[in-house]
Amino acid sequence: MTSDLSRLLNALGLVAVDTVLVLAFADQLWFRDLPCPICILQRAGFIAAGFGLALNLMFGPRPSHYSLAILGAMVGSIVSADQVLHYIVPGSGAYGDAIFGLHLYTWSLIMFVAVVLGSAVMLLFDRQFDTAGPLPWRLKVLPMSAVALLALLTLGNIASALAICGAGLCPEAPSGYLIFHENLGLALAKTP
């Protein structure tokens, strides 16, 4: 596998991670489904995993970058597995709405495992680590767009976490945007 093909596959992987984060924002803003603290940490896990893929795109593929993606995904999978185990016993309830029969934390766990598997498979191809020249401009558009979107989503999550949790730790089941309740007296989210 050439370095260029590896970068293309990394770009597609990062687009998949970006898509997960965009869908999470859509669920939060469109359906007014506020994320729980553990859900916010799962988003951070996706960014940690995507970070390794982004480094592959910016500096060229290296085993250490895949390592970051795998470790980030493993941390994220620990967080999502904890939430899955909370609701795995029949009758123990769930958090949020199901999408295609599975809740968001279950989809998260599946995606984290996919990132680990994908990165492990990519590590099998040694030729991608040969020194490669700079990417031609036409091959840069998708990778750089994916990295820019990851950066934008990271900034969006800073604002979102600040709005939901304020400056401290998050309430277990947020019922509104704490920062507006506390600082401006506004209630933008759905009322219980």
Partner: protein, 51 residues
């Protein structure tokens, strides 16, 4: 507090964008450590698995 890991990852991406790879990886490590600490604070319920 919950925005701290995102802030560190954003700093890491900014460092990577300006070609400072080691700094980017340092911010990533810091972000993951903060993520784990926050998880420790929030994962306080005992799992109801009855093992």
């Amino acid at each position: 507090m919950m925005s701290l890991p995102f802030l560190l990852f954003a700093c890491g991406l900014a460092a990577a964008w300006t070609s400072r790879r080691e700094a980017a990886m340092g911010f990533w490590v810091a972000g993951v450590l903060v993520l784990l600490v926050l998880f420790r604070f929030h994962a306080t319920d005992v799992l109801n698995l009855g093992l």
